[in-house]
């Protein structure tokens, strides 16, 4: 019984949120351009289904490409940082400094280089999703047990052996965990870029709707982003479970 309630909980809570929302908007008679009710948003989704769908696909594409680049680059740099203390000492301050820069401030530079459109969105997604992956992979490598390292080194293991047999497998739960953070950040990155400089994508669609005071469509864009985010997050969580189930072993004895 309780198991079934837990399964149903995400749906029930979401439904509850929308019900309170709808009720409040009606009870306080809030204007639609301040806060549209869920039914207004739903009507906008139905009415503008085609543009929402095509713009969602555009955003999904830029996000996914940027995310994949971040995975490849982040994994490589994380391994390099975990491998060599010299690389770590040299790159880490630079990376922290770079990560502190608001990515919205970088978009104009990207536009100067690549023009308006898909490329700045992809690169912004990449830049914002990259950092948590690097940090997590490097952390995984840094947490090799010293005893384990001694056991292997006493056997004559080279650094590469220790990396392959212990370091990389050990950092995989951290890596797959970071993908869940990185994918949602990648959405933030591409939408930021689309709102500043693009001709398509959910961010661009919301900006256009805003300038026409089509507030329900702005909110429909937010809902589309939330749905995409949840779907991609779930995909990453599933991947994590598949690849590093051994790290999530509570109750499996």
């Amino acid at each position: 019984m309780s198991e079934r309630w837990i399964k149903a909980a995400p749906w029930l809570w979401t439904l509850g949120l929308f019900l309170i929302w709808e009720g409040s908007v009606r009870a306080f008679d809030i204007e639609v351009f301040i806060l549209p009710a869920p039914t207004d948003i739903w009507a906008a989704i139905v009415k503008y289904w085609t543009p929402i769908w095509t713009n969602s696909l555009q955003t999904l594409m830029t996000t996914t490409i940027g995310f994949v680049m971040a995975v490849v680059g982040g994994l490589a740099l994380g391994l390099a940082i975990g491998w060599s203390r010299a690389i770590y000492a040299g790159l880490y301050p630079l990376m922290i400094g770079f990560n502190s820069i608001p990515k919205v401030a970088v978009v104009p530079i990207l536009v100067i280089w690549f023009g308006i459109g898909t490329v700045p969105a992809v690169l912004t997604a990449f830049l914002i999703a990259f950092f948590p992956i690097v940090v997590n992979v490097a952390t995984g490598l840094a947490t090799i047990e010293p005893e384990m390292e001694d056991v292997l080194r006493a056997l004559g293991a080279k650094k590469m052996d220790i990396m392959l047999k212990v370091g990389i497998p050990r950092s995989m739960p951290y890596f797959f965990g970071s993908l869940k953070i990185a994918i949602t950040l990648a959405f933030v990155g591409s939408v930021i870029s689309e709102t500043v400089a693009a001709n398509s994508g959910i961010g661009h669609m919301m900006l256009a709707a805003q300038s026409q005071f089509n507030v329900p469509l702005v909110w429909a864009g937010l809902v589309a982003l939330a749905v995409l985010g949840i779907v991609m997050y779930a995909a990453m969580a599933w991947l994590e479970m598949r690849m590093t189930g051994w790290a999530h072993r509570s109750g499996q004895r």
Binding site: E145, E147, M148, D150, V151, L152, R153, A154, L155, G156, A157, D161, K165, V166, P169, R170, M172, T244, W246, A247, R249, R253
Partner: protein, 263 residues
């Protein structure tokens, strides 16, 4: 006479934060081939440093370290090591964990691909010697602490090392499991005849297992007493409750108390 493991006038200091800490100073000890040596001493006396020296993980600043009549100038690779923390890899089964050294040490590393079946059988035999028959397919986190430590011993021994280095391997176990594992260790040593250096805080453990017990001083560590343990082998576990046994434990305890007081 030189031993199989031979440390002469070894000095070792750790430097860090601008200060030097002398861990070992003027340490001399020799362990014969096939002998079971135990090293006891007050905590922080540099026992673990001794382990790293003998396996070539670190080099002394002064003095010489020889293993098998060769000066140690890098990892010796004829040694197996086991620590208090079993440090099994959770993504490998127990059998795969035990076979890990074979993927590192030559000539096994080269042969493992072709002769995997033979090696697997070897590992399974070793697991059954320590009482883990049938547990090879389990993951380490499915095993109890005592069972993990048994698997840890197997991993230290799978490549048939001539030298076994143990750093308080039974320290975290309950009293009954510990006594069981003493007997496992006793039988393994009797059967395979490797040279063993056991670093421990437990004097009963040292006296039960060892041919000779070395007592270290407080930091900087050196050997202050060497005590031959002449109980005939195989030693039954009941020996540990006899008066003669307890006299030796008591005497060693006195030496350590003195070493602590001198610090």
């Amino acid at each position: 006479m030189t031993g199989f493991v031979d440390l002469r006038d070894v000095q070792l200091a750790y430097s860090g934060h601008g200060t030097e800490t002398l861990a070992l100073d003027g340490l001399t000890m020799a362990v014969n081939r096939g002998e079971f040596a135990a090293v006891v001493g007050p905590s922080g006396c540099g026992k673990s440093t001794l382990m790293k020296l003998a396996t070539g993980l670190i080099r002394p600043q002064a003095g010489t370290v020889e293993v098998a009549a060769r000066e140690v100038d890098g990892p010796v690779s004829i040694a197996g090591m086991a620590f208090q923390n079993p440090s099994m890899l959770p993504w490998r089964t127990t059998l795969q964990n035990v076979m890990l050294p074979l993927e590192i040490v030559q000539p096994h590393r080269k042969r493992l691909g072709r002769e995997r079946a033979a090696y697997t059988q070897l590992a399974e035999e070793l697991l059954s010697v320590v009482g883990l028959a049938g547990f090879g397919a389990k993951y380490p986190w499915q095993l109890s602490g005592g069972m993990q430590q048994r698997a840890n011993l197997c991993r230290a021994l799978i490549h048939d090392p001539e030298l076994l280095m143990l750093d308080e391997p039974f320290g975290a176990l309950d009293a009954f499991t510990r006594e069981e594992l003493w007997q496992v260790m006793r039988d393994l040593h009797a059967e395979k005849g490797f040279t063993t250096i056991l670093v421990t805080h437990d004097l009963r453990e040292a006296v039960f297992l060892a041919d000779r017990v070395f007592v270290m001083s407080a930091r900087p560590g050196r050997i202050i007493v060497e005590h031959e343990i002449s109980f005939p082998r195989p030693r039954p576990i009941d020996l540990t409750y006899e008066a003669g046994f307890n006299d030796i434990v008591h005497e060693l305890r006195g030496h350590i108390a003195e070493a602590r007081a001198a610090a």
